[in-house]
């Protein structure tokens, strides 16, 4: 009986943390946010040396074949640093789709390059968890894609994983004809998204995705990773709030000695601790308790969205006026969690799915 991270998982967390502390501090994050031509190549290549893009790639394809919980440990560290990296798109969603639905040749062609950090795959999958107005992709018999995908994550990639309106997956090269990306400026500037107009772009289908279960499983995994990102960001915001309260003085005392401030911090900790255990279990269940995997992924996604919203507000309030400034930069984590809340399904939608999974809706 051991509920928690293993020694190896703690070491993994420490090594990713250490690299990001040194190479993706707030100044570097700001630089990325301000320069649309900055792809964060230095960060991604450093993470590649640590094996980050290879985490879910099987050993047979040049990866390290670790578990969803290991991948969640990395996602948590990225969230804690509000780090720009094509992790969720390339290393999680695209790898999962290739593993579940790619044929042997596709896996052999793409997975080793993802593991080596030389292939980035953007993801046009947001219609799988809620098709907004104007979005739909149609795949024709001749292998071309038509229509529009919204909220495409990491559009500066080498290729795209596209979900069509029948929930099947296709791969499209970014330099193929019949494809146009338009950046969508959004509040979280540590992530880039775009809309993707497809007018006959040639694609190759991932044939295994004819099984509708594939898209569901890719989304389950993605949701747990987004929740892990929020967990890391929320913990970081709490840590910053407590540190700030311990040094900021008003009325001749540090504000950390006021119960009004202490109780806000206690409430954040009281929300974060059980959410951490839920997140770990949800990641574990994806691999080890498949009967519960989908329900736990829904609960982790929706619950962390609520915890993230509460912590984002509360930690900012503890910082007072400084929390509201760009100077301090606390808002990078606030906005990061704002993105996480909506991406792959907002909490109300995901809770409805949680009810459906149990036959309650």
């Amino acid at each position: 009986m051991e509920f928690g991270l293993s020694e190896e998982q703690n070491l993994l967390r420490e090594s990713v943390d250490r690299f990001l502390d040194d190479n993706a501090d707030l100044d570097r994050v700001r630089q990325y946010a301000d320069d649309p031509d900055d792809r964060g190549d230095d960060i991604w290549s450093g993470l590649t040396e640590l094996g980050v893009p290879a985490v879910l790639v099987p050993e047979a394809h040049g990866g390290i074949g670790l578990t969803a919980l290991d991948a969640a440990v990395i996602a948590e560290s990225l969230g804690a640093h509000a780090a720009p990296a094509p992790y969720l798109s390339t290393a999680v969603l695209a790898v999962a789709a290739l593993r579940l639905a790619g044929d042997e040749a596709q896996q052999a062609a793409y997975l080793p390059r993802i593991a080596a950090g030389s292939l980035r795959i953007g993801t046009a999958v947001s219609e799988l968890s809620g098709a907004r107005q104007g979005a739909a992709v149609e795949a024709r018999e001749d292998g071309t894609l038509h229509g529009k995908a919204l909220f495409v994550l990491d559009p500066d990639a080498d290729a795209f994983l596209v979900a069509d309106r029948t929930r099947r997956f296709h791969l499209v090269r970014a330099d193929a004809g019949g494809l146009e990306t338009t950046p969508l400026p959004q509040v979280d500037r540590t992530r880039r998204i775009a809309e993707l107009a497809l007018s006959g772009a040639p694609s190759e289908p991932l044939r295994g995705s004819r099984d509708p279960e594939v898209a569901l499983r890719v989304i389950d995994l993605g949701r747990v990773m987004v929740a892990a990102d929020t967990l890391g960001a929320a913990q970081e915001m709490l840590d910053q709030a407590v540190a700030y309260a311990k040094q900021r003085e008003q009325f001749n005392r540090v504000i950390a000695s006021f119960q009004a401030v202490k109780h806000l911090c206690a409430e954040m900790a009281a929300e974060i601790e059980p959410a951490r255990a839920l997140l770990w279990y949800a990641a574990h269940a994806l691999d080890e308790a498949p009967d519960e995997g989908r329900l736990m992924a829904c609960h982790a996604k929706a619950h962390l969205a609520e915890v993230g919203q509460f912590v984002g507000k509360t930690a900012t309030v503890v910082h007072g006026g400084m929390g509201f400034t760009d100077l301090l930069g606390l808002h990078y984590w606030f906005k990061r969690m704002g993105f996480d809340r909506q991406f792959l399904g907002g909490p109300e939608r995901v809770r409805e799915e949680a009810a459906r999974v149990q036959g309650l809706a």
């Binding site: 009986m1 051991e2 509920f3 928690g4 991270l5 293993s6 919980l69 407590v242 309260a245 311990k246 005392r253 540090v254 950390a256 000695s257 006021f258 119960q259 401030v261 202490k262 109780h263 911090c265 206690a266 409430e267 900790a269 009281a270 601790e273 059980p274 959410a275 951490r276 255990a277 839920l278 770990w280 279990y281 574990h284 080890e288 736990m296 609960h299 929706a302 619950h303 609520e306 109300e348 809770r351 409805e352 949680a354 009810a355 309650l360 809706a361």
Partner: protein
Amino acid sequence: MDLSYGPEYDEFRQELRDFLASHRDQAPRGQGMRSEPVKKWQKLLIRHGYAARTIPTEYGGHGGEPDILKARIIGEEFAAAQVPGGLGGQGISMLVPTLLELGTEEQKRRFIPPTLAGDMLWCQGYSEPGAGSDLASLRTSAVLDGDEWVVNGSKIWTSTAHMADWIFCLVRTEPDAPKHQGISFLLFRMDTPGIEIRPLVDMTMVSNFNEVFFTDVRVPKEQVVGKRGEGWYVANAILGHERDSLGDPNASLARLNRLIELMRTETVDGRRAIDNPAFRDRLMKIQARVTALRMNDLRILSSRINGSSDTGLARLITKLQATELRHELEALGIDIMGEFGLMYGKGPHLRDQGSWQNHYMYFLGLIIGGGTSQIQKNIISERGLGMPREPKAVVRAGG
């Protein structure tokens, strides 16, 4: 992450299931705490190691090795079988562990065996009208007169005082010492002359508590546990124990499952509550939080077994979160029943014997008792997050 208990424990669980299957007809059903069936059942459970497991045989226990997982399995299986487990109460859950750690040999032999057997019932005398959250400011005094303490003062929120044979009581014995260092932990009989008990009816309209008044109550000198003046530290060891036990996530899970059943059967305008998306959303929010606390509890359990120490915060938040969540869960039960949710007492249309209103109020009591939510937040921020204590204010009411 390894959530299996292992073959030794699977075997232990199976033995226990077999025991429950073959003995469940001997379990007491609704008899009083002092009835013969209750005592016989307790004796049987101790003999098999399903009650008083780790208490040495010379004190009337089973004499087993401490084993956190076995204790856990016992709790799980008795709950699942809906068979009453070993005797509880503040004597067994709080006093016995304290005596084992700090009592004299004579005290252990005198008090533990009859307490375990159900022959000696206890109540706890801690809180006072003027000493609630600030318990260490308590004023009930004990003054030595020859070979006896003379106790004067009063206690409040004293559960089971009207049934108890004995009380374990915090009294001030060193009036000139700093407040935490002037307290002693005293044991005495509840039929001693000078004790008056008045029932205190709470908002559930049941008298779960009492007020207890002491007027020149004479107690033999040797009935102090630990050293004179160290009662605060004796009591604190078990206060932690109480906080741990207030957040039982398995009880919340059972209640959540009952709530789901209720939502499937209660209708309004001919439509089931579960088919109302607003109610369903509230249910799913609560289910996620119940699950999170269950996992938090597994994390704590695991760290206790494996001796790791990174779960300090996870433990500190349990009482706060479990009581607040349970109160909210019960509130949803009432809301889905609407006006039927108001039914209380002995009239018609009661659902689950009126337990939704009863628990809704009872858990409000638990949010306050055992250290209020506000005191919990002080503890979380000070011990868990390293934030400083509030400086002492000197303002007094009316001053």
